[in-house]
């Protein structure tokens, strides 16, 4: 467990998981909707880091064919491509969440999630 030279990918991966957990914790604990949205962004970023880590090949370079890559191992292009997509989607979702925050503030004059509990049972 406590190796000294952890591979790069492992570090990124664990960091990603920690980010997800802290993001989730933020979503659970903070009453303020904006903070919850930040929590979501944290979680999202964590996932993106994990994606990158999963695609990393030891000692790999960027998957672009030019003079620099000759003979070198390339990192997996797929996670890179997917993370790109995922980031943009995360952005879109964040935008919708922020719109919600604005609208909720307008409607209730409050940004607390506790004020969004009209419906029960």
């Amino acid at each position: 467990m406590f190796e000294f030279n952890l591979p790069l990918a492992n570090i990124v991966l664990v960091t990603g998981f920690l980010l997800i957990l802290s993001g989730l914790w933020a979503m659970f604990i903070h009453k303020n909707i904006i903070r919850m949205i930040i929590g979501f962004s944290l979680m999202d970023t964590g996932i993106h880091m994990i994606m990158v880590a999963l695609g990393y090949i030891t000692g790999g370079t960027a998957p672009i064919f030019d003079d620099a890559v000759d003979g070198m191992q390339m990192v997996d292009p797929v996670p890179s491509a997917l993370v790109l997509t995922a980031i943009v989607i995360g952005l879109g979702v964040t935008a919708v969440m922020l719109s919600y925050a604005v609208k909720i503030h307008q409607a209730k004059n409050s940004l607390s999630i506790d004020d969004c509990a009209e419906q029960k049972w």
Binding site: D44, P79, M97, S99, A107, C116, Q119, K120
Partner: protein, 1047 residues
């Protein structure tokens, strides 16, 4: 060219093309923009319909590759039969959904864009074969839902929407993470490729990856308890959106689950369990729900749970060939019904279940509502019925009793709350008016159309079972008569009579043996009662005739059934139609619900038993019952209990008195004299199939025998304590059916003949008495007997009817009833049930108490002044009564014309022990000459009569007025104080009061309360707090993961 224009890929292309352009178009001409949206949605429908059609015809699935590169290196889509089916449904709903909420959508280009892209997202989710692409479409669908839910931007919708956003983003985050983890292990994203390489998904890593993907999809399917957000959304979203969320989006996720299910072999039990937990829990909570929108939410969630369970279990047991039938059936029912109900919900103002009574101003809608509810509840002829039948049968083949039990439990709870809702809608008064004029027919026409589709789907599914052509005839006959329900009463009555008579002429000759005898009892009995139906002059009875015909015809199909499915189908149809007929009564809301719930519970017992039998024998024929009994007695006990409930057996009789009391008075006659015989018929179906095993079932039969007699005694005592005339007769029915149960359990020739004889007997006298009482109630307008009295003067014919009736019930010779008693004791003694015979005697003696009370308090004693001018019952009631009396007299005079055929019908199963010498019937233990007894008594009766006549001729017989009680030397002025009627047998209560306590009622009330308490505690999860909901989602996935990891 055609195929290219109709390529499923075009759904995505058109949606995006139109979507991207819509802002520009809308800026120029909002009208045109709306047309573009409709055109696109219509195009979706056309594409999916076209492919559905060709695929059904056997065409191969349409494979679509993108980027000109083969999968798994590029994304591919597939449009097979399953996809076509789901998408045809979704797109059709979307088209009507758009039409439904057109006014709202067209205001803003963005709304139209979101709607169209939303539907495209669903299509994409269904079609794609790539896991990451699935994530993309999930996000497309999710983001558009997030916005559409809150499109009205009211406070509640925003709250709900935000919770949805939190849940949705968490779920899709996990989906993404899981997808990538899977990619890490397998190096592919293509689902088919993943399935091929699933051995590469190993270790805790692989399990975790799969768990994340599965968890994400399951969370979107709103499992208990991680579904609070979903319920909020259903409740708060605009009705049109909620409808599509509930049916369309859920369908997409369900399909996604279906696609990845081959990867999840080790997860199947957990998936099934979570689905079932959701199904049962949401139905429990539904019991407590008073907001119809939220109730629909619970129902949606529950249905999804059931579908997930079915999917997982069928896959687990390699029964995938049934997935289309079971999951498809559950899906299409849920789909059409839920969409229709949500749309209805949008029309109705108010948030109480009772507010749905607004629908009554538009009969089409209340009927549609009823159909939708019925479809959801899994009653025939709707698809869920077939699906559940197949599911139960298939599971039982693998001995999955536990699963089946909980599925049926959940279904029962579902029936309770759905029909509670229906009852409230029918009975309550809403001060709000239904407003459907503003939007024209746009909002309600789709509902009606979906009802039609439901019926059609039900028919299609029925055709995949081996059923006789006539199996669904009751439904169609009912529907047909519903079309003329607006016409005059007399006309409808004649039409119904013609239908029933034609059906009888067709059916009865095709029956034989006991079935033939039941046919001769039930159908003509129904006809006689139907003759009475117009007795309330000038009163319209909407729905009565179609339902009545449906009831009678379903009784007929019950008799003709040869397979267990046919039997169960007819049984359920009978239950539904009789429930609805009961609910037509003025205050019948609660009693009819109780009736339905007990009936359905009984039906489920029967279903369970059938499934056990099927599992043991592999045969669907009713004759398989006999083969199964050898292995175990359970099918027998379950079947008996099921029929017992229908007959109002002791302990489960609590539905009966109120149901009888509160339904229309002439229909009570039908319930008591005809419908209760269905239970008797059920007993005989079991009995005749199991004759060979009955010898080995001594213990069970002995118990049943005792139970029947205790029922007879308890029924009689409770009847004697009743003040309400209909309660009295209802309890009397319980008591009389008790004898039938006992004689059935005796299981020898005499016993069965006795049971049949008693059944015929009961049919005749209960029909007679209830119709006579209907006349009385029609004239005096009260059901309390102590408020009547002295009516013999006003209603002499009704009095004679009741008199003949009670002599028949009591079993006093020379009338028909004695034959029943005589056979009863003969059978009991032959069987060696001596103490039982003593009890039977006690019970029949107690019967005298209520019989005298019945006739005395109504017809004799002092007449109330307000009844001075009461007239005889209407002719419509008297005609069948007289017919019944003639029949009773004929059978009394010539008992052999009744006993002989009964004996012949029983003889193939139980060797006859009867000897006939002319009219003299001789059994092992006794003899009886009905003809002679009748004549002797007749002659003997004449002797004193003539004597009295001779004596009175020479004297002046003076007729005195009502209050002239000569030998009391009193002239009372208020009949109320002089009529000895109230609490007639008070001393009986004092003497053996413990026998009259309503323990059963108390027990069932306790059960009902318990159910509500469970619902109340389960719904504590739903605090309304978005963060709690998010925590629950995490918790849910975590617990599931632990469960899978430890398994």
């Amino acid at each position: 060219m055609v195929t290219e224009l109709l390529s499923p890929l075009n759904i995505i292309i058109i949606a995006l093309g139109a979507g991207f352009l819509l802002p520009l178009i809308h800026a120029r001409s909002p009208r045109f923009a709306g047309q573009v949206m409709f055109a696109s949605l219509l195009y979706f429908v056309i594409i999916s319909a076209y492919h559905f059609y060709t695929l059904i015809g056997g065409a191969p699935a349409v494979e679509i590759i993108t980027a000109g590169i083969q999968p798994p290196f590029a994304i591919n889509l597939r449009f097979g039969l399953a996809e076509a089916f789901v998408l045809l449904a979704v797109n059709t709903a979307a088209l009507f959904g758009a039409r439904y909420m057109f006014d709202e959508l067209r205001e803003h280009a963005s709304a139209m864009i979101l709607f169209i892209v939303w539907i495209m997202g669903i299509n994409g989710m269904v079609m794609t074969r790539d896991l990451f692409n699935l994530f993309i479409f999930v996000e497309i669908t999710a983001v558009s839902s997030f916005v559409l839910v809150a499109m009205r931007a009211n406070s509640i919708a925003l709250s709900a929407g935000f919770k949805y956003v939190i849940a949705g983003t968490m779920a899709s985050g996990f989906l993404l993470l899981g997808t990538m983890l899977l990619y890490y292990q397998t190096g592919t994203l293509n689902i088919d490729d993943l399935i091929i390489h699933q051995e590469m998904i190993t270790g805790p890593f692989g399990t975790a990856a799969l768990m994340l993907v599965l968890g994400a999809i399951l969370v979107e399917l709103k499992p208990f308890p991680a579904n609070g957000w979903g319920l909020d959304v259903y409740q708060a979203a605009p009705a049109g959106i909620a409808a599509l969320l509930s049916v369309g989006v859920s369908a997409a996720y369900l399909f996604a689950l279906y696609k990845i299910l081959p990867l999840l072999t080790s997860f199947l039990p957990v998936i099934a369990a979570t689905g079932l937990l959701t199904f049962v829990a949401s139905n429990f909570i539904g019991l407590r729900q008073s907001d119809p929108r939220r109730l629909l939410g619970y129902s949606s969630v529950g249905q999804l749970g059931l579908m997930v369970t079915a999917l997982a279990l069928l896959t687990k047991f390699s029964l995938t060939e049934y997935i289309p039938l079971v999951v498809g059936g559950l899906f299409i029912s849920h789909f059409l019904a839920k969409a229709g109900l949500f749309w209805l919900a949008g029309i109705i103002k108010g948030s109480e279940l009772g507010d749905w009574s607004q629908l009554r101003s538009k009969p089409v809608l209340i009927i549609a509502f009823l159909f939708l509810i019925t479809a959801l509840a899994g009653l025939p002829p709707f698809p869920t019925f077939w699906a559940k039948w197949q599911l139960v049968m298939s599971l039982m083949e693998y001995q999955q009793h536990g699963w089946v039990f909980f599925i049926l439990l959940g279904s029962l709870l579902e029936v309770v709350y759905l029909f509670r809702w229906f009852g409230k809608a029918v009975s309550s008064q809403s001060d709000k008016a239904l407003d459907i004029s503003s939007s024209g027919n746009r909002q309600w026409l789709p509902v009606v159309l979906f009802v039609g589709l439901l019926l059609a789907c039900g028919q299609v599914m029925a055709s995949s079972f081996d059923l006789p052509v006539m199996a669904l005839l009751p439904v169609y006959a009912g529907l047909l008569l519903m079309l003329i329900d607006g016409l005059g009463e007399r006309l409808k009555q004649i039409a119904s009579l013609l239908v029933i008579i034609a059906y009888s002429v067709y059916l009865i000759p095709s029956l034989d043996g006991l079935n033939w005898i039941f046919g001769l009892m039930l159908l003509p009995g129904s006809i006689l009662i139907l003759i009475a139906s117009t007795y309330q002059q000038g009163t319209a009875r909407p729905g009565f005739y179609p339902l009545f015909v449906m009831l009678v015809l379903s009784l007929g199909t019950l008799l003709a059934a040869e397979t267990m499915l046919g039997f169960f189908l007819a049984w359920e149809l009978m239950t539904v139609s009789s429930y609805l007929l009961v609910s037509l009564g003025k205050k019948a809301t609660r009693p009819s619900l109780v009736y339905l719930v007990f009936s359905i519970a009984g039906a489920f017992l029967i279903l369970f038993a059938f499934a056990l039998i099927y599992a043991q024998t592999g045969s669907m024929q009713l004759s398989a019952i006999g083969q199964a009994g050898i292995v175990s007695n359970w099918p027998f006990i379950l079947l008996l209990s099921g029929f017992f409930i229908k007959m109002g057996g002791l302990g489960v009789h609590v539905w009966l008195p109120d149901a009888y009391a509160e339904c229309d008075d002439d229909f009570t006659a039908m319930m008591s004299s005809v419908v209760s015989k269905a239970g008797v018929f059920g007993l005989f179906v079991v009995g005749t199939q199991m004759t060979a095993q009955l010898n080995d079932m001594d213990t069970i039969l002995t118990v049943v025998g005792w139970v029947g007699l205790i029922m007879a005694l308890a029924g009689a005592i409770m009847a004697a304590m009743s003040e309400d005339i209909k309660h009295l007769l209802a309890y009397s029915s319980i008591g009389q059916l008790g004898y039938i149960v006992t004689t059935f359990a005796i299981a020898n020739h005499t016993g069965w003949v006795a049971a049949m004889y008693l059944a015929v007997n009961h049919l005749l006298y209960k029909g007679l008495i209830f119709l006579a009482i209907a006349g009385v109630l029609y004239r005096v307008k009260t059901r309390y007997m102590y408020q009547m009295g002295g009516l013999i003067k006003n209603m002499p014919i009704s009095f004679i009817s009741v008199l003949i009736g009670i002599i028949t019930i009591s079993g006093v010779p020379p009338l028909l009833g004695f034959g029943g008693k005589w056979l009863l004791y003969n059978a009991l003694l032959e069987r060696g049930w001596y103490l039982q015979a003593g009890l039977a005697f006690f019970a029949s003696a107690v019967a005298f108490l209520y019989l005298f009370k019945l006739i005395h308090t109504i017809f004799l004693g002092q007449r109330k002044s307000e009844h001075e001018h009461v007239k005889e019952a209407p002719l419509a009631l008297l005609i069948p009564q007289i017919t019944f009396m003639v029949l009773i007299m004929a059978f009394s005079m010539f008992p052999n014309i009744l006993i002989q055929p009964l004996s012949d019908a029983v003889a193939p199963f139980m060797a006859s022990t009867f000897t006939w010498e002319g009219y003299l019937l001789i059994t092992e233990n006794g003899y009886w000459n009905g003809f002679l007894v009748m004549n002797i008594v007749g002659v003997l009766f004449m002797a004193p009569a003539i004597l009295l006549w001779l004596v009175s001729k020479k004297m002046k017989v003076q007729k005195v007025k009502q209050f002239n009680i000569v030998f009391a030397a009193e002239r009372p002025f208020t009949p109320a104080t002089t009529h000895y009627a109230y609490n007639f047998y008070a001393f009986y209560d004092k003497a053996i009061g413990f026998l009259t306590r309503p323990d059963a009622t108390r027990f069932w009330n306790g059960v009902s309360e318990w159910g509500h308490t469970v619902g109340a505690s389960l719904r504590r999860f739903y605090t309304g707090n978005g963060q709690t909901y998010a925590g629950l989602i995490l918790f849910y996935i975590g617990v599931m993961y632990l469960a899978v990891r430890t398994l």
